[in-house]
Symmetry: C2
Subunit: 300 residues, 2 copies
């Protein structure tokens, strides 16, 4: 492991005194029921929400995705206004924080996989401290590797930020992973999908009319909130941006590569395996376009 790899590895983000937990609206509640289907089967969804100036960022987009996910998994989410109030309440106490919302189908009313329809969704809101980040990452770019672990394909789960995340955990646990800021993953059928915790964008095309592309998430992967914001802002700025099937060859041919998630916004890729990349004009443009949205605690 080189010094620069160390520098680019994300800092460990431990639980500390700034942490706060609400379980179904109650602080310091006893814990989650041992019968919760989230624990038994990963039968739930989550959102990781960046909070700035005491307010959650892009909260409406997060809640919209959550509601769509609940619909696809076939259960009723908690009232959106309730979730909004709890998240805003927890975020208010700190200038900056990360709030994770977990919504499960709830406590099991029958044993086994079957759903009775009488389940009541469980909601968990956890506030974590905003992690210390090296400003160099945003400037010079992060180091990225290719994970050996591939993502299984299932259109019924694709796009959702559901709680079945063993594949991401195993990718993140691969021997070299800790020395890199992110690991990119391919699908079982060999397509580029995403990082373990980020979406990926490729830039190619001639300098006067560059093209921005990100893998479609129709068979696997998560439809990230920041991915959606980037696609929207690129379109507004007249930059051609699309979701499509992408192969490792497209990644190799890209002149710029960047990663996105709700916390980091846009991370240029500065090194991809053995290849050095220089954050280019399209990446910088997207960073500029997003900057006011990221600094302003905008709701959508």
């Amino acid at each position: 492991m080189t010094k620069s790899e160390h520098r680019n590895a994300p800092a460990a983000e431990g639980a500390d005194a700034m942490q706060s937990i609400l379980i179904n609206g109650v602080a310091a509640a006893g814990g989650i029921s041992a019968l919760d289907r989230g624990l038994h089967f990963g039968d739930g969804l989550f959102e990781t929400i960046a909070c700035l100036h005491h307010r959650p960022r892009f909260l409406s987009l997060h809640l919209e995705r959550l509601a769509r996910g609940c619909g696809m998994l076939g259960f009723s989410p908690p009232a959106m206004q309730l979730l909004r109030e709890e998240i805003e309440g927890v975020a208010a106490a700190q200038e900056r924080s990360i709030v994770k919302l977990i919504v499960t189908r709830g406590e099991a009313t029958v044993r086994g996989y079957a759903v009775s329809g009488r389940e009541q969704a469980t909601r968990v809101v956890i506030r974590y401290p905003w992690p210390v980040e090296n400003p160099v990452l945003r400037q010079q770019g992060v180091t990225v590797r290719m994970a050996a672990m591939r993502l299984g394909e299932n259109p019924a789960l694709a796009g959702l930020k559901h709680c079945n995340r063993l594949e991401q955990i195993l990718a993140r646990s691969e021997p070299q992973a800790a020395a890199f800021a992110e690991s990119l993953m391919l699908s079982r059928s060999g397509k580029l999908v995403s990082g373990t915790m980020t979406n990926v964008f490729l830039v190619d095309g001639p300098p006067h009319s560059p093209r921005l592309r990100t893998p479609a998430v129709e068979l696997c992967g998560v439809a990230g909130v920041m991915r959606r914001v980037v696609l929207r802002e690129a379109a507004r700025a007249g930059i051609a941006a699309s979701e499509c099937a992408l192969l490792p060859a497209d990644l190799a041919a890209a002149t710029e590569v960047f990663l996105t998630n709700a916390r980091v916004g846009v991370w240029p890729v500065g090194r991809l395996e053995e290849r050095t990349l220089t954050p280019g004009p399209v990446t910088r443009r997207m960073q500029s376009l997003l900057q006011p949205l990221l600094e302003e605690p905008a709701d959508a």
Copy 2:
């Protein structure tokens, strides 16, 4: 839904006064930590153990599979002797029960997918009442349908009874599923895999030398404990039995089909979609061979 479908549907198995829960060895503990990785990511494994005459059945096989699964997910399981004592203790209070063991990687020590290596596995032991079962199922066979939901493929997770079970839940939630005892699932690439909660065996070949086959679980599916017992007992009895790639055409061509799991032992399939099957000699033979092992609270 016909009357016979109703009759074959498994009875709802509700939580009741016979239920008992141990969390890390403590009864009536406050609940599971909201930071447990089992809740966040389904980062754990489980075993469903049939208990008879106050004792867990095939406990060594269950614990062996659990330990192998922890190894594949990269965390240390709790001490096996401790798990054994807790399961035996919980089972002792009832003549018959189902004990579910969940072992997660434990409470998160860092935010996100990364593992610090400092996690301590969480163990949950839950005793459920033995479900009421119609004896006709074992005799005349169960009704089975094909699920529309397919199983994503990932060799790193195949065979494990891990806690990422959204695919099984969605299969079990399909509109027709509740009217059938089980739904059979294909893999993304079109191979027969298993039921949502059972393994499947096909019988074919000439009557004087029948052949028993079950789908390999190298890309998806669970390597069930009863599946292992059936393969072992068939081999001991001189019945050709193998694990291999099987297609829907093999299922259609099978003269007998049966399902297995730790609770039901062997369930003959009496109807598969529109096709009626008669439980045949090989199914009956396997039921007879297993009978003493199922009635005797044998450990292995």
